[in-house]
Structure formats: C-alpha cells, structure tokens
C-alpha cells in the first residue's frame, strides 16, 4: 500500500462509513463496557451506576448498557455531521464540561476503545486504512466534545 498521498481522508471516510455503519451491530457494541474495564479510572464518573466491581459485573450492568447505547447513538450522529462536528456536539460539550465534569482525555480513551471494538468485529477487513479513517472520526468527535470547555 502506498504512503505517497493516495489517502484522501474526506473521500475515504465517506466510503468506509457506508460499509461499516455503526447501527448494524449495536447489540455487539460493548465499547462502553470495554472502556470501564481496560481503563478502570473512567469509572469515577459512574458512582450512581451500581455494581462495577468486576468485568462481568460491568458487562451485566443495565445502566452501563443503556449509557453505552446512548453514546453509540451519538457517534452515529457524528457520522452524519462529519463536516460540522463542533456545531453538532456543542450542547453535549457544554453538558460534559458544566454538568458532568468529564476530563476530555476520556473522550480519546473511549474513541480508541471504539476502534478496538470495530477491529474485533470486522477482523481482517479492518485494514490500516480503515483504522486510520475511524481514528480520524473518533479524534474529531473527541475534539468537538472538548471544544466548549472553559
């Protein structure tokens, strides 16, 4: 594969995202659970979620599942608003800063975990180019979510 400029992010992302439409495998999307297990300090925001004492407790936790679904739906919106992420996520950004007090570093962690889950689901089809496209999307979402922090 070439590294001399054949990679045009805008065109490739559009094509890639049509193939890997997130909504096709919502039931398998356990990125949120993975975030809380691989990076356990992220649990600090979810004291009200109940039992997070072990990986299996986290996997079975209905609040984790519900929140995971909410987050995934948001990512789906991101794909529809690729050219306008900052506007699309403005309200959510304010919420995460003013009410939820989430360190924006966590958005990067979740984005990386989401990419790992996609790799797990798509196996060999998740080529370096596809990974690059998705890493750009999750980085864009993380930036948009951090944009309104003050």
């Amino acid at each position: 594969m070439g590294m001399k400029g054949e990679y045009y992010p805008g065109k490739l992302i559009g094509k890639v995202l049509k193939i890997f439409c997130i909504s096709n495998f919502v039931s398998d999307m356990v990125s949120f659970h993975r975030l809380l297990v691989v990076y356990p300090w992220t649990q600090r925001f979810f004291d009200s979620f109940g039992n997070l004492s072990s990986p299996s407790a986290i996997l079975g936790n209905p609040k984790v599942k519900a929140h995971g679904k909410k987050v995934l739906t948001s990512f789906g919106e991101a794909i529809k608003n690729m050219d306008n992420l900052k506007t699309a996520f403005a309200k959510l950004s304010e919420l995460h800063c003013d009410k939820l007090h989430v360190d924006p570093e966590n958005f990067k962690l979740l984005g990386n975990v989401l990419v790992c889950v996609l790799a797990h689901n798509f196996g060999k089809e998740f080529t370096p180019q596809v990974q690059a496209a998705y890493q750009k999307v999750v980085a864009g979402v993380a930036n948009a979510l951090a944009h309104k922090y003050h």
Binding site: M1, G2, M3, Y7, V30, H33, R34, V37, V38, Y39, P40, P55, L59, N112, V115, C116, V117, A119, H120, N121, F122, G123, K124, F126, P128, Q129, Q131, A132, Q135
Partner: protein, 141 residues
C-alpha cells in the same frame, strides 16, 4: 504491580502472538505509519520504502523484545536496560508516541484474534505495555 491474574492473562496474550512475531510486528508498524503518520520520523528508511522484507524483519525484532519483556515481567528494568539506553541515547522517541503504538497493537490483536483476545486480556496487555513504555523512557532525563 501485576496481579497473578494479570500475569496469566499477559502470558495468554503472548501465547497467541508467539510464532507470528514477524507478521504481527510488520502489521503493527504499517498501522502505526498509516494511522499516525508523524511516527514515521522515527523510522526514516523503513517508512520511506515500506519494503515488506524490512517491515517483517523490524517487526520481528520489536515483537521479540516484547516477548523478552513478557518472560521478565517481574523485573522489566533489568531485562530492558539495554533497550532503555538505546531509546534514551540514540532513538529518543518522544514518550507521547508509545500510547499510539500500544493502540495499534490492540487493533492488530483484536482484528486477528477477535474473540480470543478478550476485554480482560486487553486490560492486562495495556497495563503491561504501558509499563514497558515507562521503563523504555525512564532514562530520558
């Protein structure tokens, strides 16, 4: 500090990699260069020509070092001392790059191993590789 369970999971991950060091290592480097192009500055000859033989060879070398780290996970500092010297005095890879490599490593494992690479294994592997990165950059100053 690694728990007994984490040690077992790290050994499990290595068992899945062993025998595929060259292939996984080459793909790891390819993903690194594709997803994070700025990392190419640390591999000028390798990233310019992207020669498969060289990628396999360097990939093999890198993963062999990871394998050595797995064998000595309880005394990483001693085992990785020569590599730590190399990184501090010669390579001087900015520490911010190690998480990028680690992310690509998870993606290689997730895409090849799928269900065999469980969430708990990823957690242990991430903790282990982060520890390796700390040791490799410890002598920087």
């Amino acid at each position: 500090m690694l728990s007994a369970r984490e040690r077992a999971q790290i050994a499990q991950v290595w068992d899945l990699i062993a025998g595929h060091e060259a292939q996984f290592g080459a793909e790891l480097l390819l993903r690194l260069f594709t997803v994070y192009p700025s990392t190419k500055v640390y591999f000028p000859h390798l990233s310019a020509c992207q020669d498969a033989t060289q990628l396999l060879s360097h990939g093999q070398r890198m993963l062999a070092a990871v394998g050595a780290a797995v064998q000595h996970m309880d005394h990483l500092r001693a085992a990785l001392s020569p590599l730590a010297d190399l990184h501090a005095l010669v390579l001087r890879v900015d520490p911010a790059n190690f998480p990028l490599l680690i992310q690509c490593f998870h993606v290689v494992l997730a895409s090849h191993l799928q269900d065999e690479f469980t969430v708990e294994m990823q957690a242990a592997w991430d903790k282990f590789l982060t520890g390796v990165a700390v040791v490799l950059t410890e002598k920087y100053r």
